[in-house]
Symmetry: C2
Subunit: 338 residues, 2 copies
DNA sequence: ACCTGGCACTCAGCCGCACCGAGTGCCAAG
DNA sequence: CTTGGCACTCGGTGCGGCTGAGTGCCAGGT
């Protein structure tokens, strides 16, 4: 229902607007793009595109700017994913290769993504529920005090204190540690609850209380930390947002500080494959003038967490999508290696 | 050399300016404060204060605003530290008490501080070098692969992978773990290097390579992580900075993203006792229009790390200092308990 | 049926101008 | 040393006119 040329006009409008940040008019369009038609024709097309809701005028007698719906069409039909240049790829690899631990990987990823896209980057830590257990460690700190340390295959470490109802001997502790690990090492966290269910029964009566306490803390940790952690960076890029600062930037900063909001943002997208959420498509009110590009990443074929960027709806979608995808791939490789 | 009344005038100017964000004139001053003198007198005093460099006019025929030097005098001589109200104290305690682990403590502290002061909060993780070792754990993940886990008395956990030159048996590993712990548990991290220096010699020749590798990684971790970690929050408060947004806010956001800068910022202050660094007193260029209020906190009497806030030079110093001090105390308590 | 050039119209942004008023410095008197 | 008076400054604001990019529409051409 939209002719080929009209789509072409929309593409041109999006590209110009993203570049200049200013409403684009018919004359400027014909000059900057070889559309092969006159400004008047473009005007007609623009009127049609406006009727369909793809573009809008800020005020009468100004140029047009794309609407969220216009960006949507652009992303879905008109734009591809721009692959990175090979120097960029090499830079990514070099930068990520220097990481020493998981925190470092995530930290570097955030900085990298922020720099590449010149936007705000968000990286989720590998999810506990989708990871597998590498090791469970129990340390006796005091006669009735045990520290529980949980290590995942992605290098994440969680620790908790456990208060034992009665003092717990070193040998019992070693016993519990051994049995616990033989059951859960290499298994997925999601499966842990049923794997340890009957563990207390196999212990002496006097130790059962403590065993139960330890297990309870373990399960609690799994539940609590299912609210994942994440890291953000590149907030300074928000200053390149637009001219009407305070009002735009404020709610975005606020939203970015609420982990819950961000996690929802990343979580709502499909598991693998890139998701682009544009303007009002974002549920959160403060983010209706931003777009979110997110993708899953993982050490194997399956995604263990998401990463992405938050930027103005007026962003370079192909470039951003390319950068996000590339970074996700490299991070996956790094995690698989460690 | 400055009469009592002139100091009083300065105090009034600072207070009014902090409240209204607008240059304050002689007439307004006499109306809002009971100085007992006429505007003309105040004008004379203001002229004197301006000669001394404590206040300045943005343009001729506008009110006066305090200079950095003026704020300095205000903080040093004219203002106390405003204690928090008891509801506030209770709120702090309740909020911090719910923390489950160190990350949570730091996270809650940041949010709390940001909310109380309505500024950007910065909290440093307890320093490794000033903490003591609670436990060192060695886990065999593969025949020639060991994971080193370091746990501090403040609950911080660091982990590193160690590649062994030759496979390392479980018994040797247990042996090393035991000897290592007997030497370093309870000792300060700073002392660890010399405590483990001669450890390889006491092992069989074939294991010495691995023992050395493990120790090398341990020491390396200590060095690397001496660049401390920290957490920031409340950046949304930057939007309340001033009217001339983009230019002011940008360098601040950039500075806040550079951990190194922030660590220097906190580190430069004396160990305990509160430090207030005003405007150009901050070395970093991006922060010359901000003030930093920082204080050490710790589980015992000695500081293990710093926390503080970054805000506009035009801030409520007494209130901010009060909040920072109170939060530091409570965090110290929480850490001591865990 | 579609493209195109022409034309009248609109309106945000940008002067220039005058005015207002808060605030100042100075001075002479108390 | 304080105070009231007074002339002066100058940033901010509101108003009017101009400009120019951009539009919508129409009539003519392909």
């Amino acid at each position: 229902m939209l002719s080929e040329r009209r789509l072409e006009v929309l593409r041109a409008i999006v590209q110009d607007y993203v570049g200049t940040e200013e409403p684009v008019g018919s004359k400027a369009l014909t000059e900057r793009h070889r559309l092969g038609v006159s400004p008047a024709t473009v005007r007609n097309d623009m009127a049609a595109l406006e009727d369909e809701g793809f573009i809008a005028q800020p005020h009468t007698s100004a140029g047009r700017i794309p609407t969220d719906k216009g960006y949507r069409l652009f992303v879905d039909k008109l734009a591809g994913v721009k692959p990175l240049s090979s120097p960029e790829r090499r830079a990514i690899q070099n930068f990520l290769d220097g990481a020493v631990d998981l925190d470092d990987v995530v930290g570097r990823t955030v900085r990298l993504l922020a720099q590449l896209t010149r936007q705000v980057a968000v990286v989720q830590y590998p999810s506990l529920t989708r990871s597998t257990v590498r090791h469970v460690e129990l340390l006796s700190l005091a006669p009735a005090r045990v520290m529980l340390v949980l290590i995942t295959d992605t290098g994440r470490v969680e620790q908790r204190m456990v208060d034992c109802p009665v003092p717990f001997g070193e040998t019992s502790l070693a016993d519990l540690r051994a049995r616990l690990n033989s059951r859960v090492t290499g298994r997925r966290f999601a499966d842990v609850p049923q794997l340890v269910q009957d563990l207390p029964e196999s212990f002496e009566a006097e130790d059962r209380g403590t065993v139960s306490a330890v297990l309870a803390t373990l399960l609690e940790t799994l539940v609590e930390e299912t609210e994942e952690r994440l890291m953000i960076g590149g907030t300074a890029n928000l200053t390149r947002f637009g001219h009407d600062f305070p009002l735009t930037i404020r709610p975005v900063l606020e939203a970015l500080e609420e982990q819950v909001v961000l996690l929802k943002l990343l979580g709502e997208s499909e598991d693998s494959g890139m998701t682009v959420r544009i303007g009002h498509e974002n549920a959160h009110e403060g983010l209706t003038s931003t777009s979110v590009v997110a993708v899953g990443y993982g050490s194997g074929d399956e995604a263990v967490a998401k990463l992405g960027v938050v930027g103005p709806t007026r962003m370079d979608y192909p470039g951003t999508m390319g950068a996000v995808r590339a970074v996700a791939r490299y991070v996956g490789q790094i995690l698989a290696e460690s």
